[in-house]
């Protein structure tokens, strides 16, 4: 049970997902949505790895995906904790409210 689509199509899908996530990251001001967009982008990157691994018949792509999942797990844990903190601090989820680093 195998698909025989060209590798490029898989890559294109990864690119589409990635770009959609990027648009979300740029457009949304709500930090929660930004975190979700980040997840989309990570997932897209993982997709690209798996596609490539499948193309070369190597397990490395899948291993990379596992790394990405691990990282995403850690990132979400920390990110969500940060969001909680953020909300307590600013009473909003608007990232533009947190501009104390303005130079």
């Amino acid at each position: 049970m195998m698909a025989t689509v060209p590798t490029e199509y898989g890559m294109v899908l990864a690119a589409v997902l990635f770009c959609t996530g990027l648009v979300g990251l740029l457009v949304r001001r709500n930090v929660l949505f930004m975190l979700m967009s980040t997840e989309i982008m990570l997932n897209a990157a993982g997709l690209a790895f798996v596609v490539a691994g499948s193309r070369w018949h190597e397990p490395d792509g899948q291993i990379m995906f596992m790394i990405i999942v691990t990282m995403a797990g850690a990132e979400v844990a920390v990110g969500l904790a940060l969001i909680m903190r953020f909300y307590h601090l600013f009473k909003t989820l608007d990232t533009d409210a947190a501009d104390t680093l303005k130079g």
Partner: protein
């Protein structure tokens, strides 16, 4: 005996070291013993050395190498002492007169809080002077040279809490320093021209290698002359000497008589071989001497301060010595230096006694009639003034000045004009010396003179008075029955002379002019003081009086030409204008930081957009290249 030579400079220096290290803990008597005693012992040592020198079976210069100072490649500078007639006379005078001044100081400075410091400086002064005159190499001479400069600075500014004194001290140091720089450069020229800095080889090689009036000879001697002009207070570097009166009176005596100002004369006499090879420079020396003696003589006439008047008289007498050096009569210059050391030390110390008695009053117009209050001081001062004025036959000053005038007139390098300047100077000398005598000791009593000076001050005065009158008899001109102890000791033999006037005639003329000066002083300051007062009241008289009193306005001139530009330049550099370049770099960096800092909006999405843009650009580069 000659082996004792090193103790002559070492003893005063040892005294200095002891006083500098332990002076504050010693009792006054101890300080006096060390201070005066070290110089006294040094004088004794020079006497022994002199005895040893004279009784040598074959008279020859004696040298004693102490250690090698600097040695680099072919440059070898030794700490070497060189004893010949010139330096022998100099150390005898420096330590002898120096000792008398020290003895005098033990009483004069009795009540000063810084007694030990004073004697430490004085010892160092004598030590440095002895090093200077005994030096066998020019760098060592320079060591002593700067040493006496340092001591004059310290002693002129001895009473430091008065800012004027300190300023006079700085002035003395700086003005002489300017001359010293010339001398230092002169040393370089000599080293590269002749390959040595030891004085005797220098003379020998110069005679072999230099042609008269060659550029290098003129340059080297002119540069050496700069140093001599500064130290001896000749035109145009004479401005420091009158101000140097700010120090205690014994210091003035030491500076003017035995030590510092003699250094220039000594240098020129010591290197007379070089100067003989540069007649052009000799001519300059003579002209400077003549100009200085006239200028200082007129200035001396307009002073109110007794010490300043004496200071100008020193400059004037040094002018005579330079005049003699200029015509090549260096032994006459040294002879006059010797007699001048006696009578000028005497005059200053007697003036000091007067000043002390008058409670530190120095204005002659506030004195008067002191001959009854201080008879012994009066008689000794009179002896000094007579010698200064060169009253004929009975004073030492007459013989030495006569020797100078005759050499000026008879030498092929001299001439009538220079001689005429000298003779006019003789008139001025008579006038101003007796002006001082009459203003201070005659007329009505104005101030209240207190206690008479004690023996420690009076004994040196009497001794010096005897010398001021009698020291001239070692050299008596042919017309008066020839005695030539001094010049034969120096190894100089009278040359055949031809002049427009005979020797006797010129002596009579000079003597008459000196007596004329005395007579004029009698008239102007004793019998008819109204004449001068009336004349000074006229506008032109007042202007001339002001000009003379200020020493012909050299201070103002230098203030405008040198001091003001230097101060202006330094205030320009004060805030370090070169650092502006680096400040500009800093400002650029700050500007860039401010510009890039705007990108730091603090908005997360903006940063994300930046990353995305970066990705776009990088990918575009990958795609397109």
């Amino acid at each position: 005996m000659l082996q004792l030579l090193w103790t002559v400079p070492a003893l005063p220096l040892l005294g200095f070291a002891l006083l500098a290290l332990f002076g504050r803990r010693l009792p006054r008597a101890g300080v006096s013993v060390i201070g005066a005693g070290s110089v006294g012992l040094s004088a004794v040592a020079s006497g022994l050395v002199a005895w040893g020198y004279i009784t040598q079976t074959v008279p020859a210069a004696y040298s004693q190498c102490l250690w090698t100072w600097m040695e680099v490649g072919s440059l070898k500078v030794d700490m070497i002492l060189w004893l010949d007639p010139i330096s022998l006379v100099m150390i005898l005078v420096a330590t002898g007169v120096g000792f008398l001044i020290h003895v005098y100081s033990t009483e004069y400075m009795r009540d000063d809080a810084d007694y030990a410091r004073f004697f430490a400086y004085m010892n160092l002064f004598v030590g440095a002077m002895v090093v200077l005159v005994l030096a066998g190499s020019l760098p060592m001479l320079y060591l002593g040279w700067e040493g006496v400069g340092l001591c004059s600075y310290l002693l002129i500014g001895f009473w430091y809490d008065n800012a004027d004194n300190a300023r006079a001290a700085v002035k003395a140091f700086l003005v002489t320093r300017i001359g010293d720089i010339g001398m230092l450069i002169g040393l370089f020229v000599l080293w590269f021209s002749l390959g040595t800095l030891d004085i005797q080889p220098l003379m020998e090689r110069a005679q072999l290698q230099w042609t008269p009036n060659s550029a290098v000879a003129v340059a080297a001697t002119a540069l050496l002359l700069c140093g001599a002009l500064g130290k001896s207070g000749q035109l145009p570097l004479q401005v420091w000497l009158p101000d140097a009166m700010a120090g205690p009176t014994p210091v003035s005596a030491l500076i003017h008589a035995a030590t510092m100002v003699a250094a220039g004369v000594y240098l020129l006499a010591r290197t007379h071989v070089l100067f003989d090879l540069a007649p052009a420079v000799q001519c300059v020396v003579a002209v400077i001497g003549a100009a200085t003696l006239l200028l200082a003589g007129t200035s001396a006439l307009a002073q109110r301060d007794i010490k300043r008047a004496l200071a100008y008289s020193t400059i004037s007498q040094l002018g005579y010595m330079f005049l003699a050096l200029g015509v090549g009569a260096w032994s006459a210059a040294l002879f006059h230096f010797m007699t001048h050391a006696f009578f000028k030390a005497l005059l200053f110390m007697a003036a000091g006694a007067v000043i002390l008695a008058m409670h530190h009053e120095q204005d002659m117009f506030n004195m008067g009639g002191l001959r009854r209050r201080l008879p012994l001081v009066f008689w000794t001062f009179l002896a000094g003034a007579m010698s200064l004025a060169a009253l004929p036959l009975v004073t030492a000053g007459f013989y030495s000045k006569d020797m100078i005038l005759w050499s000026v007139l008879s030498s092929p390098k001299g001439g009538f004009l220079l001689w005429a300047a000298g003779v006019v100077g003789a008139f001025l000398t008579g006038l101003y010396s007796f002006r001082i005598v009459f203003l201070v000791f005659f007329g009505e009593e104005k101030g209240h003179a207190s206690a008479k000076p004690g023996p420690a001050m009076m004994i040196p005065l009497v001794l010096l008075a005897v010398l001021a009158l009698g020291a001239g008899f070692v050299e008596i001109p042919e017309t008066l029955g020839r005695v030539a102890l001094f010049s034969s000791f120096m190894g100089v033999h009278a040359a055949e002379a031809s002049a427009v006037l005979g020797e006797g005639t010129q002596q009579v003329l000079a003597a008459l002019l000196a007596l004329g000066g005395l007579a004029a002083a009698v008239v102007l300051y004793l019998l008819r003081p109204g004449i001068v007062k009336a004349w000074v009241a006229t506008p032109s008289g007042a202007a001339l009086q002001r000009l003379c009193a200020s020493g012909w306005g050299f201070d103002a001139l230098y203030g405008m030409l040198i001091i003001r530009p230097v101060v202006a330049l330094s205030s320009l550099c004060r805030d370090d204008f070169m650092a502006v370049v680096w400040r500009a770099v800093g400002i650029c960096a700050e500007g860039a930081a401010a510009g890039l800092g705007r990108a730091q909006t603090g908005r997360l999405r903006f940063y994300m957009a930046g990353i995305a843009l970066g990705a776009v650009v990088v990918l575009a580069l990958v795609v397109l290249l």
